[in-house]
């Protein structure tokens, strides 16, 4: 059953309507075992709504969700046993101690009483909570509360882990620890992680799904994305009109950075041919540098709507 490509989350044509407002339009999300998927989008794009639907907290207005092959809407209990969910705000009881809370979560997620002790020790180790087991949750720092939120999401070793902004409010060291944790989870879980922090996606994710205004605008592997977004910076002393550059072999896009400097990109761009042409045409080639367009740039372009699905 643990085939590496097994689809753990398969959501198709999800839509959600709040009153008159349609916040999700026919969204498809797929997460496989052994995969960390970064879920990106500006505030209000529908990230949290999607995650709430995938974790069974909210019912979609249309569409279907299968968790490890089980229909979430028809068999919610069976499907939810396979999900661990950390909402935006960690669902913690301030008046309980860490151990009491985790034991309660283990029971809620139907961890057998005989295994609860071991499960508790394991998640406390994983999330760095060993020293605070007897402390009241209300007295813990934000970082510890956030880790506790993650601990409750993985205490029952779910196949699917859904984390809504797990590193928000943490300091850089804690962020690094959480990222390490997410990377470890990858081995035997499928992880869907939403975040605002773009380097985080580059650090931990295998695939990125970008959502904007309730629609998926990009769904691609990180490798393909960096491949597709690779470009070259060209500086020319006597540049031709920009249209001429667009006609170069393999060039799909040209951005003018200043009067002499351009960013040219295209999946089959041959730098050698570009250099030969520049010299041959006597454009006065000064610089030809490979340039990775950052994820941030992709994010901004996609969300402001001027990048087509070129990388998909």
């Amino acid at each position: 059953m643990a085939s590496p490509d097994e689809l753990l989350i398969a959501a198709s044509r999800l839509s959600r309507v709040y009153g008159e407002r349609r916040v999700l339009h026919d969204i498809d999300v797929a997460v496989r075992r052994g995969e960390v998927v970064g879920f990106l989008g500006p505030n209000g794009a529908g990230k949290s709504t999607t995650m709430r639907i995938l974790s069974g907290v909210l019912a979609p207005s249309g569409g279907a969700v299968r968790i490890a092959g089980i229909d979430l809407l028809e068999h919610p209990i069976a499907a939810k046993r396979r999900i661990g969910y950390l909402p935006e705000q960690p669902p913690i009881y301030r008046e309980l101690t860490v151990d009491e809370y985790l034991r309660y979560c283990a029971r809620l997620h139907r961890v057998a009483t005989s295994e609860a002790g071991a499960a508790l020790a394991r998640v406390k180790d994983r999330c760095g909570l060993r020293e605070v087991g007897a402390r009241l949750i209300g007295s813990l720092s934000k970082g510890f509360q956030q880790r506790l939120g993650i601990a409750q999401a993985i205490i029952h070793s779910p196949e699917v882990v859904i984390l809504d902004e797990p590193t928000v409010g943490l300091d850089p060291i804690q962020i690094r620890e959480i990222r390490q944790l997410v990377r470890e989870l990858r081995s035997d879980h499928g992880v869907l992680l939403s975040t605002h922090i773009l380097p985080e996606v580059q650090a931990v994710c295998d695939r990125v799904v970008l959502i904007n205004a309730g629609r998926i605008v990009l769904d691609t592997t990180l490798a393909a994305l960096s491949e597709a977004t690779r470009g070259w910076r060209v500086r020319l002393r006597r540049p031709p009109p920009i249209e001429t550059l667009k006609l170069l072999d393999g060039v799909q896009r040209v951005d003018m950075l200043d009067a002499q400097c351009f960013l040219i990109a295209g999946p089959r761009l041959d730098s050698e041919a570009v250099a030969r042409r520049c010299v041959g045409e006597d454009w006065g080639l000064i610089e030809l540098t490979p340039q990775d367009r950052s994820l941030e740039e992709v994010f901004l372009r996609v969300t402001t709507g001027d990048l087509a699905m070129e990388a998909a």
């Binding site: 069974g56 939810k80 969910y85 909402p87 009881y93 008046e95 309980l96 309660y104």
Partner: protein
Amino acid sequence: MTAAIAARELRSLFLSPLAWVILAVVVFILAYAFLVQVQVFTEIQPRLAGLPSAPGVTEIVAAPLFEFAAMILLLVAPLLTHRAIAAERRAGTLVLLQSAPVSSTQIVLGKYLGLLAFFALLALLIAAMPASLALGTVPDWRHLGACVLTLILLLSAFVAMGVLISSAVEEPIAAAMITFGALLLLKIVDWSTEVATETRTGALMRYLSMSRHYEPLLAGRFASSDILYFVILTLVSLALAIWRLDADRLHG
């Protein structure tokens, strides 16, 4: 699963000072009322001695005590029930239950049973007062048992309605006020002069009135229709609360 939720609810109650304060204040006030009632009994006892089938100590001390307790708990129950779901929703912890493999029925029953356990404990503390009369006399144990059961039935309806309103109202304090209003309305609905008439409204008011169902029970006159009244009130409230939580998923 229901038991885990109920146990957590009960535990959190006892971790808050409010529950302890409520226990202390209610027991103190009722103890005072109990002593007053005992005093009354000792004063009229010589006169009762001559009467055939005179009311016993249980009828004179316990029944009024439980009636007074019902009134006080009508004020107190909303203070504890209002947080049941509204506060969890506000603190973001309801999501923990909603994303866990737990049904809305289990969530609502867990909340209900946890709170009811607290009030049942309070009912036993109250019952301990008339039971202490056994040191000097022989109480009518069956009557006393009936009083305790009646109080628990009543509290079951209070708690179920409180959980329902807590599930439906966003603001916890507003839930407390609405619960209080609803319970009070059921208590005073038979104040209308309509009640004395043979109209439909009159009959409905007589049936809805809570006092008309628990007073006979406290007096030791058991009628299954009176018991049924509280059972129905409890079940309908719980069913509506479950329905409300399910609706959260659809509309939330």
